[in-house]
């Protein structure tokens, strides 16, 4: 069960990384913006919120209510943060990837700057 719990889908990994990068400013629209800049195309908010729910369900992210804020006409919002186990999951994925990549870099095409 533990092994499975550590496994993390690619998209969820990206969402986690974006949230980690944003630090204290990890609101859903910001996460979306970071991912869209990286992917270069519009991403589905449905997929994003579903991924956030899944990450929350597995204890990798948590959120706190913020607001009511004036710029959202009194609406409240959720500030996401990556939990310690979320960081562990990211670290584990990274280790797996690096281990798999070890000694394989020469097979990659040259990347331009």
């Amino acid at each position: 069960m533990m092994a499975r719990k550590a496994e993390i889908g690619e998209f969820e990994q990206l969402v986690l990384l974006a949230a980690l990068r944003l630090g204290d400013d990890a609101f859903a629209p910001d996460i979306a913006r970071v991912l869209e800049e990286r992917a270069g195309r519009e991403m589905s908010r449905g997929t994003l919120y579903a991924a956030l729910d899944r990450l929350e369900g597995r204890g990798f992210v948590t959120w706190a209510v913020e607001g009511p804020t004036s710029d959202r006409a009194g609406g409240r919002r959720r500030r996401f943060s990556v939990t310690p186990s979320g960081r562990d999951a990211l670290a584990a994925s990274r280790r797996v990837l690096l281990a798999l990549w070890d000694g394989m870099e020469h097979l990659l095409p040259e990347e331009g700057a």
Partner: protein, 707 residues
């Protein structure tokens, strides 16, 4: 940051989001996020772009987040928390509910079986009828520019009234056709068709077995161009083949349907140029029609027909051109393609202009005739829409009864499940979830019934197709396809909600104290009883409507075949011989009396032998034989024969002394004389008497004998 003002997100999309998103902070925050992003996009891009973005994302959130989320067990428990991480139990997914429901059904097999079969019957009946409705009324016509293709016929109220004809759509004769084709300005192309040898059948002899009787029609050279479906192999007929000037000659060339080509020639592309024997004479195949070509639904003599035609022959219409009787012999079914941008009304007024000039030229024959153009689409379901829709309504009622029955079963079940519901509610199952659970159950029931219903419907469709009149256009093509399946699925879901909602709402109304105790609250029991009674009353009411409607419907739909015929079909048999060398398009030269005598002599001989059969009271020869619906000649006969049009027909039937006795017009009062006769169809070739079928058939029965 400036507060929200000015630009508001698209209202419909936002309302949908509000409806679908979960209550509480989770939904509120997502709604707020999307508003905020919308504002941001408004600042960078146009309002329209921002609106489109919002609609797109709203749809993705509703479908991808909310609806798919209900099926995702890994997101279970993520629901109403006011802060992250605190998972709540009791918010089961639809999948869990479905699993639970299946277990419950397995434990109550009798209930499940009754409910599933009830629903299956309801949905099966609806699917079957919808298949026919789809084939007859909804399926698009296969021709390019189908909306511009019209059939042209003419009406004449006086002519109709004088002869008390039951229809008002007359065809054209050769002379008229030539006039209209030359004078009208509204059509790209005009063409016509005529049943081959009146019957619409001819014999095909490939020498590899017994000759086959196939659907055959004569057409003008332009016919396939009008429909926009020229042959895929070979060519269409040429103008010379269809209208040779001056001489009485039929060019022996044929065009095959794709179906016949595949069936009898194994799709051999070398078939073009091959000589076959059609009607005991050699004919050359010049073309093969594309797959999916359908003979257009045409209307004539008050009936519509879309015959299966396998062989087309060039219609040699100069032979039918009878200048001495320009007003008669109206047999040409005219089809035309409107010019781009020309409306049906404009076509009608142009046709009226030509009709007026014809009436001036031939006042005695052409006064009072008004040609009209009808789009093929309108003809297609003509005369059948009412019956089909009535039948659809009837099976709809059957489904309603089925729903009421299952709802009642569920209600009764609900009474025994109050404790279960109370326990669920006590451990935190909100009413919304109880309703969700009960609705999942009913939709699952409906789906099982629906699947079985589609199978039943398949069988029902086949039965129904046998019952529908043979000339119901497209009726024979009814069957399972994507739109029928979609209809069945939609109907199934709707059914599940219709019969499940009431018991679900009822079942989720709990009185915790008494229900937990295992007793049934007084109020609850009373409510169920009342609901049950209302359902029962509704069922009885619908049943009565159905019974009354069913009687009327059965008479009108299934009885289409037994419309008043103008004669009494009791004890009348029709035997039809498919003959070789004789057919009116190329045979008897009316001027050649020796030829006629020889033909008639052969008929007399056969009629004599037939009348010698014990039990045969009277024998007559008819050309054409009787038709239940439609045909080229009105099936009405007068003893007096005063009327010109009818006198000619009566003459045809009077070659032997018997026919006069055999044919009697039904008296106007509706009382009919009993006829006992054996009628033999047009031209005969074989000397053996035809095999006779049983007597007393409901309808005139034709016995086709190839030979």
């Amino acid at each position: 940051v400036s507060p929200v003002h000015g630009a508001l997100p698209p209202r419909l999309a936002r309302t949908a989001l509000e409806l679908f998103l979960p209550r509480g902070i989770r939904g509120e925050a997502i709604l707020g996020d999307l508003d905020e992003e919308f504002q941001g996009i408004c600042r960078d891009r146009t309002r329209a772009e921002a609106g489109a973005w919002y609609r797109r994302q709203a749809l993705r959130v509703i479908v991808g987040y909310r609806l798919l989320g209900l099926l995702d067990p890994s997101r279970r428990g993520v629901g109403g928390a006011e802060s992250g991480g605190a998972l709540q139990s009791g918010y089961a997914t639809v999948l869990d509910d479905a699993r639970f429901a299946l277990r419950r059904f397995a434990k109550a097999p009798a209930f499940t079986a009754v409910a599933v079969i009830t629903i299956a019957i309801g949905i099966g009946a609806n699917t079957a009828v919808f298949s026919v409705v789809d084939a007859v009324m909804l399926r698009p016509l296969p021709y390019p520019n189908a909306d511009r293709i019209v059939q042209v016929w003419q009406t004449n109220p006086d002519y109709r009234a004088e002869r008390s004809l039951p229809y008002d759509d007359f065809s054209f004769n050769a002379l008229d056709y030539v006039e209209y084709e030359r004078e009208t300005r509204v059509f790209d192309e005009m063409g016509f068709a005529l049943r081959y040898a009146d019957e619409g059948f001819g014999t095909l002899d490939l020498g590899d077995g017994p000759p086959e009787s196939v659907g055959a029609w004569g057409v003008s050279s332009s016919f396939f161009d009008v429909l926009g479906m020229p042959p895929v192999l070979g060519r269409a007929f040429t103008a010379e083949e269809t209208a040779p000037q001056g001489e009485m000659r039929w060019t022996p060339v044929v065009i095959l349907s794709h179906d016949l080509w595949m069936r009898r020639f194994e799709g051999d592309p070398g078939v073009v140029g091959r000589e076959i024997r059609f009607e005991s004479a050699p004919a050359t195949v010049v073309g093969v029609l594309p797959e999916g070509f359908q003979f257009p639904v045409l209307s004539f003599m008050g009936a519509v027909a879309a015959p299966d035609v396998d062989i087309f022959v060039p219609l040699y219409y100069q032979a039918l051109y009878q200048p001495q009787q320009p007003g008669r012999f109206r047999q040409f079914l005219v089809t035309a393609r409107l010019r781009e941008g020309v409306s049906v009304e404009e076509a009608d007024s142009d046709l009226a202009r030509v009709a007026a000039s014809l009436a001036v030229a031939h006042p005695e024959t052409h006064t009072g005739w008004r040609p009209i153009a009808k789009p093929l689409r309108e003809i297609a379901g003509r005369g059948f829409e009412t019956q089909l829709l009535a039948l659809m309504a009837a099976v709809g009622f059957v489904l309603l009864i089925a729903c009421a029955n299952v709802a009642n079963l569920l209600l009764a079940q609900g009474a025994t499940r109050r404790s279960e519901m109370a326990v669920r509610s006590a451990i935190g199952g909100g009413r919304r979830h109880l309703v969700q659970l009960l609705l999942t159950e009913s939709i699952l029931l409906a789906s099982t019934g629906g699947a079985l219903g589609v199978a039943l419907g398949q069988w029902g469709t086949r039965t129904l197709v046998r019952l529908v009149p043979a000339d119901m256009p497209g009726g024979g093509d009814a069957g399972l396809n994507a739109s029928v399946l979609l209809f069945a699925v939609g109907l199934t879901l709707l059914t599940g909600v219709v019969f499940g909602l009431l018991p679900a709402l009822r079942g989720s109304m709990l009185n915790l104290v008494s229900d937990l105790r295992g007793g049934r609250g007084e109020a609850g029991a009373r409510g169920e009883w009342r609901l049950s009674r209302v359902l029962l009353a509704a069922q009885v009411a619908i049943t009565v409507i159905l019974l009354v409607g069913g009687g009327v419907l059965g008479k009108s739909f299934l009885g289409l075949n037994s419309q008043p015929l103008g004669y009494d079909p009791e004890n009348v048999l029709v035997a039809s011989l498919v003959q070789g060398a004789h057919h009116p398009l190329r045979v008897i030269n009316p001027a050649d009396s020796a030829q006629r005598q020889a033909l008639w002599q052969r008929k007399y001989d056969l009629l004599e032998r037939l009348s010698a059969i014990p039990g045969v009271v009277s024998v007559a020869e008819g050309h054409p034989p009787l038709k239940p619906r439609g045909g080229y000649f009105p099936v009405q006969f007068t003893e007096e024969g005063e009327d010109r049009a009818e006198r000619d027909l009566t003459e045809l039937l009077r070659h032997d002394g018997h026919s006069h006795r055999a044919w009697r017009r039904a008296p106007a009062q509706g009382r009919r004389e009993r006829l006992e006769a054996l009628l033999v169809g047009h031209g005969l070739q074989r000397s053996d008497p035809p095999v006779l079928q049983g007597t007393g058939e409901r309808n005139v029965r034709r016995t086709g004998l190839a030979g």
